[in-house]
Structures are given as C-alpha cells and as structure tokens.
C-alpha cells in the first residue's frame, strides 16, 4: 500500500518535470514547476528528510517560484512556437527549416536515452549500507545539539554551511552585478491595496514567530537557520508586495551589516577559537549548543536580508528603462 504512494509520487514528479519543460505556455511551465517542487517536498517527507522538505518547499519551490512568477510579468506570455516544435516531432518534420534540427535532436534523444539506461543501471547497482549514520550517532552528543542534521550542518560540516551562507550573499552580489542597480534604491510603489496590506501586516508577526520557532527547534528537530531565514525573508518579500519596502528604510551600512552578519560572525567565531589553539569552527563542546544557536540566528538574519534584497532587485528589473546600463 505504502509503496504505491511512493510509486505514484515518483510518477507524478517525473510527469511534472516533463510537463514543465514541454508546456507551450511559459506560465504553465512555471506553475508546473511549482507543483514539481511541492511533489519533491512530499518525496522528501516520504524519505524521512523533513529538514530537506521544509527547505525545498520554502526555498526551491517557494522563493524560486515567486521569482519565476515575478519574471512571468516580464517575459511575453505568448506561446513560444519553438516550444511547440519540441513537443511534437511530427510538427517539426513537416517544417522545412526545422529539418536540419531533426538530426541533432534525434542524437540528443538517443544520447540521453543511453545515458539514462546507464544511469539507472548505476543507481540500481548501489551496494547496501555504508553511510555515515553510525559515525554521526556516536559523535552527536559532542556536537552540542540533538538533531543530527543540525549537528552535521553547523558543527561537523560547518565549513560547507559557512561557504553556503557566502553563496547566498554572493547570489545577491551577482544579481547586483547584472543590473548594476544600487542596493537600496526606493522601489516603485507596489499595489496599494488595503486588503493585501492588512493581510500582509497580519502575516508578518506570524511568519516571524514561526521563523523563530523553526530556528529554535532546529536544535532538536527539523528546522534551523535556512528554513528560518527563508521565512523571515518571506516577510521582507511580502512587505515589498504590500508597498512597505523595509530595506529602503535601513541605511546602507546597516543593510550591509545585516547581509554580512551571519557570514562574518560565523567566520570570526571560527577564527577566535582557532586562535585559541583549535581548528577553524571548532567549538568547545560545553558552549557548542549556545554558539550554534547564535550563529544560526545571525545566519538566518543574513539569509533573510539577502533573499529580500534579491527579490527586490529582480522585482525592480522590469521597471527600468531599457538601454539604461545603470552603471553609476
């Protein structure tokens, strides 16, 4: 019975992925992608990866979906003819100009098919057992937290996580680099709808509270900095929608401080203990729990700030005048 659900879920995921790439309308594509993200989140839950599920739903489906939706306003909604070509090979057969494309496409399909077969074989042949569960279980008490995923993220593999926080900041810098938009420019007033505003104002504390809850619970259960950061970032995004651009209120230095706080504090803390004679990111076991909570809180703030800023920047992209390279 339960395996049936998994099979259905797997088929659904594959179907949604296919459809979101083959859909003829861009909006369909994006909505199907949304659905794909949620299906994937369900799959994570089925696989017992609740942390991943929250992250997936929040960032990959939620945040990215919002970005895509926002992009939809930008790109023309018309059917893209080429896309239809792709869906029906017969169509392209009848067209003269597409004939030259047929061969490469055929080659692509064949190549991918072959690749898929080998991949399936390779995945199938994976031997049993051999993960790091046992190692993690033994060392968990020394990590300062009770939830193994958090222990891995913020203690055992803290270096990766630190770099990852850097990547988010980097994503923001990269988005700046694209548009050359000044960081906290006053946004164009969003829809000043009283209802929306009220709803957003209602949700703000709820989201904040929920984020804080996730942050705290990360110590002992699914949750943590990333999930909390995304939720807090959602506050910023929602406020932006409601015409309340929080980030234009903070001064530049403060904005930067918020953005870099997580990354820098994480590193400085690491350096501090390194100077004390240990390795980078090596916390004394007694204080590890507390330190991790602080690091997580600051990281969540930085992530929230970065996500808000990324969204705000992308959101403003359309309103720019064309041909304005905006390098000031």
């Amino acid at each position: 019975m339960s395996i049936l659900i998994d099979i259905l879920l797997a088929i659904l995921g594959v179907y949604l992925a296919m459809q979101s790439l083959l859909a003829s309308r861009l909006s369909q594509s994006v909505f199907l992608f949304f659905a794909f993200g949620l299906a994937l989140a369900l799959a994570w839950v089925r696989l017992g990866a609740v942390d991943v599920a929250i992250t997936e739903a929040a960032i990959a489906a939620g945040f990215l979906g919002v970005l895509f939706l926002d992009a939809l306003r930008d790109f023309s909604p018309r059917d893209t003819e080429e896309q239809q070509n792709l869906t029906t090979v017969q169509n392209s057969l009848s067209r003269k100009e597409s004939k030259s494309l047929l061969l490469p496409r055929l080659a692509l399909v064949l190549g991918l098919g072959l690749f898929l077969l080998i991949a399936l074989e390779a995945v199938w042949k994976i031997p049993e057992g051999g993960g790091l569960t046992a190692a993690a279980e033994t060392l968990l008490p020394e990590s300062g937290v009770e939830h193994p995923v958090t222990a891995v993220l913020l203690n055992f593999r803290a270096y990766d996580t630190w770099l990852e926080i850097g990547v988010i900041l980097l994503g923001l810098l990269a988005v700046f680099a694209v548009g050359g938009i000044q960081i906290y420019r006053k946004p164009i007033a969003a829809a000043d709808d009283p209802l929306m505003r009220q709803v957003i104002l209602f949700f703000t504390p709820v989201l904040f509270l929920f984020g804080a809850f996730l942050l705290y619970i990360g110590k002992s259960g699914p949750g943590g900095a990333f999930q909390a950061g995304v939720l807090w970032g959602a506050i910023g995004i929602l406020l932006h929608f409601g015409g309340i651009p929080v980030y234009s209120w903070v001064p530049r230095w403060l904005g930067h401080l918020l953005l870099t706080l997580g990354l820098v504090f994480f590193l400085l803390l690491g350096f501090l203990f390194m100077a004390a004679g240990d390795n980078l990111f090596e916390y004394p076991p007694a204080y590890a729990g507390l330190l991790i909570l602080i690091v997580e809180t600051l990281a969540a703030i930085s992530i929230a700030a970065a996500l808000t800023a990324i969204f705000a920047n992308l959101n403003q992209m359309k309103k720019e005048q064309p041909n304005d390279t905006a390098q000031k």
């Binding site: 395996i3 089925r46 991943v52 990215l64 992009a71 023309s76 991949a119 994976i126 992209m317 064309p322």
Partner: protein, 100 residues
C-alpha cells in the same frame, strides 16, 4: 524493491530530463527550470541513499548536503533569472539567438 530504490531510480530519470531540458529547451526560463530539475534529481539521489542506511535516524549527512545543495542551486538560479530578465530587458531576446 525497497522504497528508497523507487526514488533513486526516479532521481536518475529526473536528472536526465533536466539534462535534456538544458540542451533542448529554448526559453531562458525553461533552461533555468531544467537546471533545477537536474538538481532535484541529484538531491533525490542523495536523500534516497540516506533513507537506505537509516538506523535510529536516517543518515544526516546527505540531508545536510542536500540542504546546502538546494540553497546553492537556488542562488545560482536566481542569478540566472536576473541575467535572463536583464537580457530580455535590454534586447528583447528570450532565448539564445544562435542555438549552440
């Protein structure tokens, strides 16, 4: 067939779909979506292996890796989206003019 195997096989399929999409799709947005689907496949692969070795809890390392991976993938995707939008804004192009 174990449950995790359903997902690990699915992961290979998703990866291939995404890979094909990156090459075959024309529109920028679809190409970006295709990369995320590829990523989804890879992450599914990781997590399905984690489930396989579950003792008292599933292997936490792949979970942590996947969380890191998702965030990294999203950051890249957001950047790609920004590029795509900017290109559209400047030139009105929605796909690469000379297909590779």
């Amino acid at each position: 067939m174990e449950i995790y195997q359903i997902y690990s096989l699915t992961s290979a399929i998703l990866f291939v779909i995404g890979l094909g999409g990156v090459f075959a799709a024309r529109h920028f947005i679809k190409k970006i979506i295709a990369t995320i689907i590829m990523g989804g496949g890879v992450f599914l692969c990781f997590v399905s292996f984690a489930q396989r070795d579950a003792l008292t809890f599933a292997d936490p390392v792949p979970h942590a890796l996947v969380i890191t991976g998702i965030v990294v993938a999203v950051a890249s995707a957001a950047f790609a989206l920004a590029l795509a939008r900017r290109i559209y804004q400047l030139t009105g192009e929605e796909s690469f003019t000379n297909d590779k």
